[in-house]
Symmetry: C2
Subunit: 156 residues, 2 copies
């Protein structure tokens, strides 16, 4: 029996490191999301904007299920967000002619405009960031974060 036994399940240094990592990431997500929220126009939430932006960047016509997978949220969550956007007239949700279970999500012209306006509102928010956090640093840690995200996604 080891000299300093007892206490069970003392976290290893690696564990402590990971805890710190997830803790920092959690707080950054909270602070940045909050900050973006405040400047978004049209009563858009971050979730709603992300969806609009996704459709502009990667094209529309996706099914809700595929969108849910892309954003790593449950189908129920996606249903909710899509309903909000549809009620604002920013997207259109059509039945899928090939598969009666599915639907297809399309961006409307007002949705396109709202996304552009949101983009414009967000850019100034980023303009002062380089002072405290240079783009080079962002570029430096991004690959590691991607790797972590991919691992978490694959092993769950």
């Amino acid at each position: 029996m080891p000299a300093k036994a007892a206490k069970a399940a003392a976290p290893t240094p690696a564990d402590t490191l990971y805890f710190q990592l997830f803790n920092e990431i959690g707080i950054i997500a909270q602070l940045s999301g909050n900050r973006f929220q405040k400047v978004l126009p049209h009563e858009l939430t971050v979730a709603q904007f992300s969806l609009l932006n996704h459709m502009v960047r990667l094209g529309d016509g996706w099914t809700p299920a595929r969108l849910a997978a892309a954003f790593q949220v449950t189908k129920g969550t996606m249903t909710n967000t899509l309903q909000k956007l549809e009620s604002k007239g920013f997207i259109r949700v059509d039945p899928d002619t090939d598969d009666a279970r599915s639907k297809r999500v399309f961006l409307t012209p007002p949705g396109q405009s709202a996304r552009d306006a949101a983009m414009k509102a967000l850019t100034p928010e980023l303009s002062t960031l380089p002072e405290g956090f240079p783009p080079a640093l962002a570029a430096e840690i991004l690959p590691a974060l991607e790797r972590l995200r991919i691992w978490l996604d694959a092993n769950r």
Copy 2:
């Protein structure tokens, strides 16, 4: 007038970089929080566990306002979480004898046990992580994340 004018407010490469960064961070926060949630005992949420853990690591007797500041949440949010923990008997909230506006939050023995049990449940969850994401990588990006968190906190 530039040849390819129009389109207004095209994001700079740096902006795109930052967007990616916050996007990855958001998804990691979501995935990791979700994952922790699933294994936590005693119906503990991540927010509740974080609070208990904080009291073990940094001591109890803090005021709700100070806790709210430490966790970067609003006072209302902290009120809510404290009420949940108190109803479970994991903390005790006493009036502050020096300042009638304030309260003081203390960890109870059951709260201590719950925190230990949660810690024990969380550790195995971290055990497979080093395969895909070595601790050295975590250590490498942690300082940058801290810097970002601190900047966001200071400039809001």
